[in-house]
């Protein structure tokens, strides 16, 4: 296991236990690794890289309950990044040919790239299209950093509904990116 994988594993496991600061650090470092990894595989579609980095981060977050701490982190991240990459290629099928994006080398953490281009797709705009019961909890909790209790009070929703709204809203965001709604 490489040093960066070791470090990321530690950040993720603590993050999954509810430590938001280390989870933030995990996602931040992961985004740099994903950017380098995807830039290498989307060299003919450089404009798509940042969008795919964001889509993959959202997928990692939404599906984080499928990570088992005993599994090598590279393998899990690689499988998700690859799945999202293939999904993107299918969506674009027929429009472009790509250079061997489907290799099996698990080098997700081999390089890191913090130099982000602008994403072409604006997730903030997609967020605005969500229904209130999902949009408001996300805005109050995830963007303004309120607690569940505060978000529940300000929206007049129950605490359970606020939590469900955040969870479903982020999944709906991923579905919108896939073009399903």
């Amino acid at each position: 296991m490489s040093a960066s994988e070791d470090r990321l594993w530690d950040l993720l496991v603590r993050g999954l236990a509810g430590d938001t600061a280390t989870y933030h650090a995990f996602l931040k470092e992961l985004s740099a690794h994903l950017r380098a990894f995807l830039r290498g595989r989307l060299s003919r579609l450089p404009d798509e890289v940042e969008d795919l980095v964001q889509e993959t981060l959202l997928a990692v977050h939404n599906q984080r309950h499928t990570y088992d701490a005993g599994q090598p982190l590279t393998v899990w991240i690689h499988a998700i990044a690859r799945y999202k990459l293939v999904d993107l290629l299918r969506r674009r099928a027929g429009r472009d040919a790509l250079n061997d994006p489907l290799d099996d080398e698990l080098e997700v953490f081999a390089a890191s790239d913090t130099d982000a281009d602008d994403a072409r797709r604006d997730l903030a705009k997609l967020l605005e299209q969500l229904p209130d019961r999902q949009r408001l909890p996300i805005i109050h909790m995830k963007l303004h950093g309120m607690s569940v209790v505060e978000a529940a009070r300000i929206t007049g929703m129950s605490e359970a509904a606020v939590k469900v709204g955040v969870h479903r809203g982020l999944k709906a965001l991923a579905a919108m990116i896939r073009g399903e709604r």
Binding site: K28, Q54, A59, H61, N62, R64, H65, T66, D118, A174
Partner: protein, 213 residues
Amino acid sequence: MKTDELVAMLASGAEAVEPHALQRRYALALGWGAFGTTLLMAILLGVRPDLSEAVRLPMFWVKLAFPAALLGGALLATVRLSRPGVRLGRVPAAIAAPVLAIWLFAAIVLLGAAPAERPQLVFGDTWVYCPFIIAALSVPLFGALLWAMKGLAPTRLALAGASAGLLAGAGSALIYALHCTEITAPFLGVWYVLGMSVPAAVGALIGPSVLRW
């Protein structure tokens, strides 16, 4: 939205993930699905009236053990296929083993029988509707399992759908075996296998669209 803003948004207020989320999800799906399938059979067909006598026949237990073994293999496959990057390893062999065993058993039975008796051993009295019923009874289980899988992260969608379908089919066959009165290995090897294959095939077809995430 910049990527750093997205990262901050995702991390903000992220609560601890409940441990064993995957196991709980499948336990819930299997519980409700099996309840639905059992209810459906109870309403439509009922349990065979001579069940108390049938349990004394060794073949009755073979008839339960065969789908139960497939259920075990399919459950393993389904759980593994729900997690990104987890390999199937020897699970396909564990799924093939009970099928090969019942076929071997069926071949021995057929070879030992007089030619005139063989059609009855294969077709029994219910071959016309047995596979259809197994497939139909699998619907509640299948729906529940697809729900569970959809909330996880399968990356090989056709295979994952087939695996969930096989699991539902095996569960359905296990429950249907309490009604069905056929007890020959050739019958199980053909019609039970066919019935369980239907949801598996449907799963392979619909997996790529239904299970996407």
